[in-house]
């Protein structure tokens, strides 16, 4: 009766279930017997015609009372000991157990493997091998729970705790956070991916993006793409304002567009924004994003959508002041380099071009003017006025070696004078 426990995916799951079912049977037996007796007495000895009948003044029975004290005591001792034995197994990892490190924070799980490989909200383990998880929280108390493995332990910010299990069959198993930890508690899920030993070895040592991605869940893959495709440069995931809108809390939001219409952020809007970004620009942002048409297969777009969806409930950091609106400056009074600097800020060139020598997506502005080098097509260039102007208007035509052709054209967005000011500014960055 009541055999509803999840499938048994660890070595000790059958032991847990055995004692569980034993308690169930004995409980159902006693509940039915005792409550049945009460109902039976209520029927047999009920008062008829509204009058009391004679009753015997039975005060008790020591023998009977001894029996119903001793019998439950024996049952309890048996259950307690059986429960302790299973507990000992669950709490004692074998010496040869593989070691994984788990870090919990509001509201995600990260796993680190012995070779330094890291995964988020998903852990891959080999079947038939004991795995030991050493866990620590970065903030509040969380709890690590995988029903199919019958393991659970709180994850504390003050000390390390551990769980272990040995999976007995391959498959994907749901994991939960079971200690209430705040607004995103019910989204703090993870999955345990049990694979064959050979596949695990391949997975662990294969760093190729294709293989890693093929093993990832949609959300995790979306996150990887977010970094790999440089979305990270212009779109934050913590609500802070960058060149483009933040992904935090973006899903399902109603956005006002520059053409005055309103759009709800759903699958179709995100896809269209990736493939044809400048068609629907959100109010307050510029048409700066390059198109990814033909560069991302639909599976990748789906993965990015899943990732953005997963950020729906992320707490949004207070929006920083709009950099354009914040500084009303009389531009006619500015010197060309000053105007150029302002324009560089407005157009968010800094998202891809540093001024401190760091290599971002594009070449740094530091020392750029007058630099000589090779282009991607093998020809050489010198960064003079003509070259820089050309690069702003037709960026794809002369990409420097080692950089991706990802800069949008500013044709029609900047006047001749403004382009000259930007070049004047670049000259000053040395």
């Amino acid at each position: 009766m009541f055999r509803y426990l999840p499938e048994q995916a660890s070595t000790f799951a059958p032991d847990v279930d055995w004692i569980h079912h034993w308690i169930t049977d004995i409980s159902v037996f006693f509940t039915v017997a005792i409550f049945g007796a009460a109902v039976l007495f209520a029927i047999i000895y009920r008062r008829r015609d509204g009058k009391d009948h004679k009753t015997p003044q039975i005060l008790g029975d020591h023998k009977l009372e001894a029996i119903w004290t001793v019998v439950p005591t024996i049952i309890c001792i048996f259950v307690a000991v059986e429960g302790l034995l299973v507990y000992r197994d669950i709490r004692t990892p074998p010496d040869k157990a593989m070691e994984l490190s788990v870090t919990a924070d509001q509201f995600s799980w990260s796993f680190e493997y012995p070779n330094g490989k890291k995964t988020l909200n998903e852990v891959t383990v080999p079947v038939g091998e004991p795995v030991r998880f050493t866990m620590r929280s970065k903030d509040v108390i969380h709890s690590f729970f995988v029903p199919a493995m019958r393991v659970k332990s709180d994850v504390l910010p003050s000390i390390f705790t551990r769980v272990w299990f040995e999976p007995v069959k391959t498959g994907r198993y749901q994991g939960y956070c079971t200690e209430y930890c705040g607004a995103g508690h019910s989204t703090m899920l993870f999955s345990v991916n049990v694979v064959s030993g050979a596949e695990y070895d391949r997975w662990l040592n294969d760093d190729s993006q294709e293989f890693m991605m093929s093993r990832m869940g949609a959300e995790e893959k979306g996150m990887a793409l977010y970094e790999q495709q440089n979305c990270i440069t212009c779109h934050s995931v913590d609500g802070s304002r960058k060149v483009g809108p933040s992904f935090a809390g973006l899903w399902g939001k109603k956005e006002k567009l520059t053409d005055g219409t309103e759009v709800t952020v759903d699958e179709n809007y995100i896809e269209s924004s990736i493939v044809n970004p400048n068609l629907q620009i959100v109010m307050g942002y510029g048409p700066l994003m390059p198109s990814y048409e033909g560069q991302l297969p639909i599976e990748d777009i789906k993965a990015l959508i899943s990732y953005i969806k997963s950020l729906e409930k992320t707490t949004i950091a207070p929006a920083s002041a709009d950099p354009v609106a914040a500084a009303p400056v009389d531009r006619s009074k500015l010197t060309p380099p000053e105007l150029g600097k302002l324009l560089v800020q407005e157009k968010a060139c800094g998202a891809c071009h540093s001024v401190d020598g760091n290599k971002l997506i594009g070449p740094t502005f530091k020392g750029l003017y007058g630099r000589k080098g090779k282009l991607a097509d093998g020809s050489s260039y010198e960064a003079d006025d003509e070259y820089l102007k050309h690069s702003i208007l037709e960026p794809m035509a002369q990409v420097v070696e080692g950089f991706a052709p990802s800069m949008p054209s500013f044709q029609g967005q900047l006047s001749e004078e403004e382009i000259a000011s930007i070049i004047a500014y670049i000259k000053t960055v040395n």
Binding site: F35, A38, K54, L59
Partner: protein
């Protein structure tokens, strides 16, 4: 009421003095009991509505659109905090205990009537603080676990402050009852003649006095931690968040027995009267209450098996927890045996008492799973735990209290309520309650964690059934209490002194009792349960 006295009706505690000030300044334990009852049920229904809002949110997978995850988290916190601190903990002792203890032992009042009124007003002060705290709702869960409760919104200070103040009300009530039961028993009312409700109330009062200060200190430390950062619980400052859990459960496990022991007492009063038989094994039932109260102090860490405590202490607390099961099982066996060869009348109080036996069997046996270490690892913080403690807290403490209110209502008001309405309400409560929480046991078996705003779609049908049950359950409570309230205010049917033919002292005086309870101090010559034809060679002493 003044017209009633004018027509020559006998004076009683309700009509002797009239007007609002006669209530506000009253030192009469019966009136204070009534004031507690009215106030407590206002909070019961408030917290009940919070529960229904939560059940509405969980009816279907995915957000309902009615609330955000934050608001959901606030709702389960307020539901738990109000139910525990403002309703079930004061619960039976403050309402029926206040009304009945002096009557049952043949006293005029409690030992310290002014202290009694003071504890009511301390309760009101704590309640007002809790209501003010609603302006920035807490989202920590009623357990206020650190370090989350150190980081989240400012409402925590007011809400824990409210619980801190409420603790004083609880301590004073407990102190009052201990002294009353020791010193004010009528001549001849020896310890072994006491009604079992008094034994239960005595054990409860002892826990109130001994355990409440610990949670008071704990919540006070939390407030200091939040406001001054003394570093006792916050790991960033070198504190230990698990220490909070130890101090919290050192009170909050015994508090479970503050809630349930008086309900046991009520059931032990109802079954003998409605069976017209002595309670089976009086001493065992009486001492079982004391044993539960005592053992209850040494089981607190069974709430913390997975909190990072050592395996040795987990084993220790598991075994002690099993020890509580024994006296509890003894009680149930004794209640059922009392019905054997009785003359059983199935009026509303008895229906509640019989249903209590079923509910408490479920509550107790599901507790066995949670005491068993290997199984608790699976069930800890799942819906199984939610269902288990609602079977003890609602199915046990609340239904026990509702049973008691129906049983003693004729004594309190002098009137008889509509049996038909009361029975319809009983059916709604019993069916609704089980329909709410049986699916939650099954959800727990599937591994559904508690305190989740949303859940995987495969759990939807069980959640749907649970929500339907919850609304039926809520309707049942509303009907039951409205029936009693309506009768108290407008009822015409007189109840008489002793409608159920009880031998207990409170039924030997007028309904409602006079201000001093008895015309002359009663002299007690026999124990409370001398029902039926004596059997040769057997007597209570």
């Amino acid at each position: 009421m003044s017209t009633a006295t004018a027509t020559g009706e006998k004076k009683n505690y309700l009509n002797e003095h009239t007007g609002i000030w006669s209530w506000i300044y009253t030192l009469d334990h019966k009136r204070i009991g009534i004031m507690y009852t009215v106030t407590l049920f206002m909070f019961f229904f408030t917290a009940g509505i919070f529960a229904l809002l939560m059940r509405y949110e969980l009816m279907h997978a995915g957000p309902s659109g009615l609330m955000t995850p934050d608001q959901y988290n606030q709702l389960f916190t307020l539901h738990g905090a109000i139910m525990v601190f403002l309703f079930i903990v004061p619960g039976i002792p403050a309402t029926l205990g206040n009304f009945l203890i002096p009557l049952m032992i043949g006293a005029k009042d409690v030992a310290f009537p002014r202290l009694n009124l003071l504890s009511y007003y301390i309760y009101v002060a704590g309640a007002i603080m809790a209501l003010v705290a609603l302006s920035s709702p807490v989202d920590t869960g009623w357990t206020f676990y650190t370090p989350y409760s150190i980081q989240t919104g400012q409402g925590v200070v007011l809400m824990t402050g409210a619980a801190f103040v409420l603790g004083f009300s609880s301590i004073l009530t407990g102190l009052n009852f201990v002294v009353t039961i020791h010193k004010l028993r009528a001549p001849g009312m020896t310890w072994m003649r006491l009604p079992l409700f008094i034994w239960a109330a005595y054990a409860t009062a002892a826990i109130q006095v001994l355990a409440t200060p610990v949670v008071g200190i704990n919540l006070f430390l939390l407030i200091i931690e939040r406001t001054m950062g003394i570093g006792i619980f916050d790991p960033k400052l070198g504190g230990d968040p698990v220490l909070f859990q130890h101090l919290f459960w050192f009170y909050s496990h015994p508090v479970v027995y503050i809630m349930i022991l008086p309900a046991f007492g009520i059931i032990a009063e109802i079954i003998p009267v409605f069976s017209q038989k002595p309670i089976f094994g009086y001493k065992a039932v009486a001492f079982a209450s004391l044993a539960i109260a005592l053992i209850g102090f040494f089981v607190w860490a069974h709430h913390m098996f997975l909190s990072g405590i050592s395996d040795t202490s987990a084993a220790f607390f598991s075994i002690i927890t099993f020890a509580v099961a024994i006296p509890t099982a003894v009680k149930v066996f004794n209640w059922v045996s009392t019905m054997y060869r009785g003359s059983i009348r199935l009026d509303t109080p008895m229906l509640y008492a019989i249903s209590f036996i079923f509910i408490f069997m479920v509550a107790g046996t599901t507790g066995i799973y949670l005491a068993t270490l290997g199984v608790d690892i699976f069930y800890h913080d799942t819906y199984f735990v939610v269902a288990h403690f609602h079977y003890t807290m609602q199915g046990g403490a609340v239904i026990g209290m509702i049973a008691g209110l129906h049983f003693w209502f004729p004594k309190m008001s002098g009137k008889m309520y509509s049996e038909t309405t009361a029975k319809i309400a009983f059916i709604l409560i019993f069916v609704g309650f089980n329909m709410t929480f049986v699916p939650q046991f099954v959800l727990g078996m599937h591994g559904m964690p508690r305190r989740y705003f949303d859940y995987p779609p495969e759990f939807e049908s069980l959640h749907f059934a649970s929500t339907i049950g919850a609304f039926a359950n809520g309707l049942g409570y509303a009907l039951a209490i409205l029936n009693l309230a309506y009768t108290a205010l407008f009822g015409k049917t007189k109840a008489g002194r002793n409608p159920y033919n009880s031998l207990s002292l409170e039924w030997q005086t007028d309904s409602p009792p006079i201000h001093d309870n008895f015309e002359v101090t009663p002299i007690v010559t026999d124990w409370t349960y001398g029902y039926g034809e004596p059997i040769k060679g057997q007597s209570h002493h």
